[in-house]
Amino acid sequence: MTDNAYTRRVFLQRSLAMISATGTLPLFLQRSAFAIDNPLDAPLTSSRPGVPDDRILVVVQLGGGNDGLNTVVPYADSAYHNARPYIGIKENQVIKLDTHGKTDGFGLHPSLGPLKDLYDEGLVSILQGVGYPNPNRSHFKSMDIWHTASPETGGQGNGWIGRYFDNTCAGEPEANACIAIGDKAPLATYGEKISPIAFDDANLFRWVGSELHPDLAKSYDQINRAGQDATADPDSPAAFLTRTALDAQVSSEKIRSAMAKPAEQSYPNSRLARSLKMISAMIRAELGTRVYYASMSGFDTHAGQLGNHNRLMRDFAGAVTAFYKDLKKQGNASRVCILTFSEFGRRVKQNASGGTDHGTAAPMFMIGDMVNPGLLGRQPSLTQLDSNGDLKYNVDFRQAYAAVIDRWMGADSKAVLGRSFKHVPIFNPKKLA
C-alpha cells in the first residue's frame, strides 16, 4: 500500500515536472527526455546494478500439453520403448544430443533439426523434468498455475509477468512494456500496474474509421494527437486518456511501419512463425517493450499423435530458429532470451488411439546467447511413476522463473514469486556480463 502511494506521488511530481517542458510529447518520449535529466533520481525500471535495461524476454507458450518424452526422447531407456511401442521414437530416428563427445541417452524429436543447429552453437539450454507439486491435469487449471506461478492456490491471482512489472516499475509503466500476440492478453501478464497489450494483426492497430471518408483522418488526428492539455491535472483520467491516445498513434505508426519492413530472415509458414516475426519487427523498431508473449496450440495429442506432433515440432523448431537468426542479423540476439513452456507433459504410456493423455513434468527450452547450453535438471524415472502413471518432477518451474527474473530481468524474484527459489543455472555468468 505504502509503495503504491509512494509511486503515485512520484509519478505525479514527475508528471508535473515534465508537463511544463514537454506538454504534448507522448509518454515514452517524455520518459526518454526525462531519463536524461532525472531530478528525482528515481529509476524508471528499478533494475539491479549492472543489469542493462534493454534486455528482452520472449515467452513462447505451447498450449495443450506438449509431449515432453517425444520432444526430448530418452531413447536409451527401454522403459520408454516398452511404454510406447507404437508412438515411441526409435533410436535411429532421434537427433542425438551427444554433448562433449559423450552419449547421455537423449535425443531430439526428428523434426527439431533446426533447433539442434542452435543447440550445437551453444544457444540452447534444455531443462528436464520441470513441473510442480500436486500436478493438475486440467488444461486450464494447469495453464493458470504456470501463468500465476502459484500451484498452492491452484493458479489464482495475478500473473508472474504482471507481478514482475508491479515490482519493478516506478509510476506509470511504459506504454508498450508488455506485448502479447493474440486476441487476449494472457493471465501471466496481468498485474496491478500494467495493462498488457494484445493484438493479432497490426492492421487493426489503428483506427479503421478513416476508411469511411478520406478526410476523416485529418479530424481524427486533430482529436487524438492533441496530447495532454498543459492546464489539466496530469493525474486525472482525462489526462491519462489523452496521453494514451497520443501514445497509441505513435505506437501504431511505429508498429505498422516496423511490420511493413521486410524481415532480414525468411520465416516458415506457421502461426508461431508469424507471431515471432511480428515480435522481431517490434524489437528492431525499439518499442521499449521488455516482455513479449507468443503462443501456439494444438499439443493436446490424445489420438493420432505421430503425424500431428511431427508437424507441431517442425513448426516450433522452424519458427524459433528463424526468429533467433533474424535477431542475430539485426544485432539484437544478445538482448533476447526465449523461454518456452507447456502446461504439462503427457502420460508415459501411450493410449489406444495412438496418442497420449494428460501428464505432468516435461522439458522447458531456454534459448539465447546467454544460456548455459546443454541438458540441465534431470529426467524423471520412467518406471518410478506417480499413482496416475505420470512422471515425478525434479525441477519446480518457479526455479526457472526465479533465475530469469533475478539474473536476466534484474528484478527480485522473491518479491515476484512470493518466496525464494533455488535457481536452475540457466544463465552463464560470463555471457551475462
Binding site: 502511494a5 479503421v208 482529436i223 494514451t244 490424445h302
Partner: protein
C-alpha cells in the same frame, strides 16, 4: 473539495445531465428520449424506477442444455472402472471421445450464453438488474476456464440476477452453496480428512472482508467449516459424511460451525460492510483500485455506505437508493471521470444511439480483445477495472468497435463501402427546429459525452462539417458520430 453529503439532491438540481449521469452509472445509458423521461420524473422517482425494476421473467432465456456435462451414470462408471482394471484401452478411448465431444458442445453453448447475456444487457427494460448482476459477477468472480460447465455458470448468473438488488447477505449465503463456485474454488475436494482452503480464503479475502482482516488460522478453521459443501451434478449437496463437525475458532468465535455459519461470522465483522461499501462505490461512483487508494472524501462516503449496509442488515435497495440520490453522486468530481468498462462502452453506445443489430459474435470478440469477456474474468479477483482497461491497443479496439456499431463496417473488412451503412442517424436530430452545424454538433455531444468535450475537439467537428459545406446528411452525421466515439473523453462516463 468534493461534496460528500449523502443527503438527497434537490429536485430543482436534477435535469437532463443529472438523469443521464444516473442512467449511465446505474444502467448502461440511453437515448435522449429515455434520459428526458427520467429527468422529468424528478430524482426520487427516477432512482426508484431504476432500483425497483419491473419483473423480467418474460425476457428470453438462453438456449442451454443442463445435461451436456452430466456425470457418468452408475452403469457407465462401472464399465469404465472395469476397463481401467482390465487395461481395455478401446473402451477407455470411447469414454475419452465421449468426454471430448461433450466439452466441445459445452464450449459452443457457453459462447451462446455469453452472447445471450450481452444481448440481454442491450435490450432489457431493467438495466440496473444487469448492472448489478455484473457487479456481483465481478465480485464473486468465476470463469469458464476453471469450471468448464456452461450450465453451472448460467445458474450462478441467475443467482446474481435474482438477488441483484435484494441483500448482500443472501448473495454471500448463496455463493457457498453455488455449484459453479464450489467447483471453481475446489471446495468439491474439501474433505474432512484433507481440507482444501481455497474457498475459505477467498470468502474472507475477496468476498467479504478484504486482505489483512483475518489470520491464516482463520482460513484453516474456516476451511473445516466448509468441508462437505459439494455438488451433485447441477445441484448443491451437503455431504455430511465429509463434514467436520468439530469445534472451530473463526475470527474469535468458537463453535461447531458449518459453512453457512462461517458466512454469518464474516458478515458480522466490521470489515465486511466497509469492504462491500467499497465495492459498491467502485462499481457506481469512482475508479478506486483499492480501499486504501480512496481519498479522504471518498473514504467518508464509503464509510457512510458501510454504516447503511450494517444498519439495514445488508439490504441493498435502501443503500443503493441513498447513494444514487446523494449530492455526492452528482458532484462534478464524480461525473464524467470513470473509465467505461468494455461492456459499458459496448452496451452504452448501442443503447444511446439505438444502432441496428450487430453480430453477437463480433461483439464478443471485441469484448475479449478489450479485456472483458463476460462470464470469463481472468481470475477469482474479477476485473481490476479503471485505468487497466486502457492501453494503446485496447483504445484502438474501442474506437473501431464504436465505428462498427455505428456503420456496420467490420474492422477487418476492406471491401466494405459507405453504401452499406444501415443506420439512420438523422433520427437523432429530427426534433431540432433549426439544425445549424453548432446545434447539431452540440446535440450529438450532449447525447454521447454529456456535453463534456474538449473545446478543441468540438472545434474539430465543426471544421469537419465546414469542409463539407455544412451539409447535414446521414453521411456527415455518421462521420461525426465516428469522430465523437473516437475522442479520448468518450472512454469516460
Amino acid at each position: 473539495m468534493a461534496n460528500t453529503s449523502t443527503s438527497p439532491i434537490k429536485p430543482d438540481r436534477f435535469g437532463y445531465a443529472e438523469a443521464q449521469h444516473l442512467l449511465n452509472r446505474a444502467g448502461f445509458g440511453g437515448s435522449s428520449r429515455q434520459i428526458q423521461t427520467l429527468a422529468s420524473m424528478g430524482p426520487a422517482d427516477a432512482v426508484d424506477t431504476l432500483i425497483d425494476f419491473p419483473s423480467t421473467t418474460d425476457l428470453p432465456k438462453p438456449d442451454i442444455d443442463p445435461d451436456v456435462m452430466r456425470p457418468l451414470t452408475d452403469a457407465e462408471r462401472r464399465e469404465r472402472n472395469r476397463a481401467n482394471r482390465n487395461g481395455d484401452e478401446e473402451t477407455l478411448a470411447r469414454f475419452r471421445a465421449m468426454r471430448q465431444t461433450a466439452q466441445g458442445a459445452d464450449r459452443r453453448q457457453f459462447a451462446n450464453l455469453q452472447q445471450w447475456w450481452v444481448d440481454r444487457m442491450i435490450t432489457t427494460p431493467a438495466p440496473m438488474q444487469e448492472k448489478l448482476t455484473l457487479l456481483w459477477h465481478g465480485h464473486f468472480a468465476v470463469n469458464y476456464r476453471g469450471c468448464e460447465d456452461a450450465y453451472l455458470i448460467y445458474q450462478q448468473n441467475e443467482l446474481f440476477r435474482q438477488n441483484a438488488n435484494t441483500s448482500f447477505a443472501r448473495l454471500a449465503a448463496g455463493i457457498v452453496r453455488d455449484p459453479a463456485m464450489l467447483v471453481f474454488l475446489n471446495n468439491d475436494r474439501n474433505l474432512k480428512s484433507r481440507p482444501n482452503e481455497n474457498l475459505a480464503r477467498e470468502l474472507m479475502e475477496l468476498f467479504t472482508l478484504g486482505v489483512g482482516q483475518y489470520t491464516e488460522n482463520d482460513i484453516k478453521q474456516g476451511a473445516r467449516a466448509l468441508t462437505g459443501y459439494t455438488r451433485n451434478d447441477n445441484d448443491f449437496r451437503f455431504n455430511s459424511g465429509q463434514h467436520d463437525t468439530g469445534n472451530k475458532t473463526i475470527l474469535g468465535k468458537t463453535g461447531p460451525f458449518n459453512g453457512d455459519q462461517f458466512v454469518n461470522i464474516c458478515l458480522a465483522q466490521n470489515a465486511c460492510p466497509q469492504f462491500i461499501a467499497f465495492k459498491i462505490y467502485k462499481h457506481f461512483v469512482a475508479d478506486v483500485a483499492k480501499p486504501n487508494d480512496a481519498d479522504p472524501d471518498q473514504k467518508r462516503v464509503i464509510l457512510k455506505i458501510a454504516a447503511d449496509l450494517r444498519r439495514r442488515d445488508y439490504d441493498l435497495k435502501p443503500v443503493l437508493r441513498r447513494l444514487l440520490l446523494s449530492e455526492h453522486f452528482y458532484d462534478p468530481s464524480v461525473r464524467g471521470t470513470k473509465i467505461k468498462s468494455p461492456v459499458e462502452l459496448t452496451v452504452g453506445t448501442i443503447r444511446a444511439l439505438a444502432t441496428p443489430q450487430r453480430s453477437g459474435r463480433l461483439l464478443l470478440d471485441a469484448l475479449r480483445m478489450m479485456g472483458q469477456e463476460p462470464l470469463n474474468p481472468p481470475n477469482v479477483a474479477g476485473w481490476p477495472g479503471g485505468r487497466t482497461w486502457i492501453n494503446t491497443s485496447t483504445l484502438f479496439i474501442r474506437q473501431n468497435l464504436a465505428t462498427y456499431l455505428i456503420t456496420g463496417k467490420p474492422p477487418f473488412d476492406t471491401g466494405w463501402t459507405r453504401k452499406q451503412i444501415n443506420y439512420d442517424a438523422t433520427a437523432l436530430i429530427e426534433d431540432i427546429k433549426n439544425p445549424t452545424p453548432q446545434a447539431v454538433v452540440d446535440r450529438l455531444l450532449a447525447l454521447l459525452l454529456g456535453g463534456a468535450a474538449r473545446p478543441e475537439n468540438r472545434a474539430a467537428l465543426l471544421a469537419f462539417l465546414k469542409d463539407h459545406n455544412n451539409r447535414i446528411t446521414n453521411d456527415t452525421l455518421i462521420a461525426l458520430l465516428c469522430l465523437i466515439t473516437a475522442m479520448p473523453e468518450y472512454q469516460l462516463c
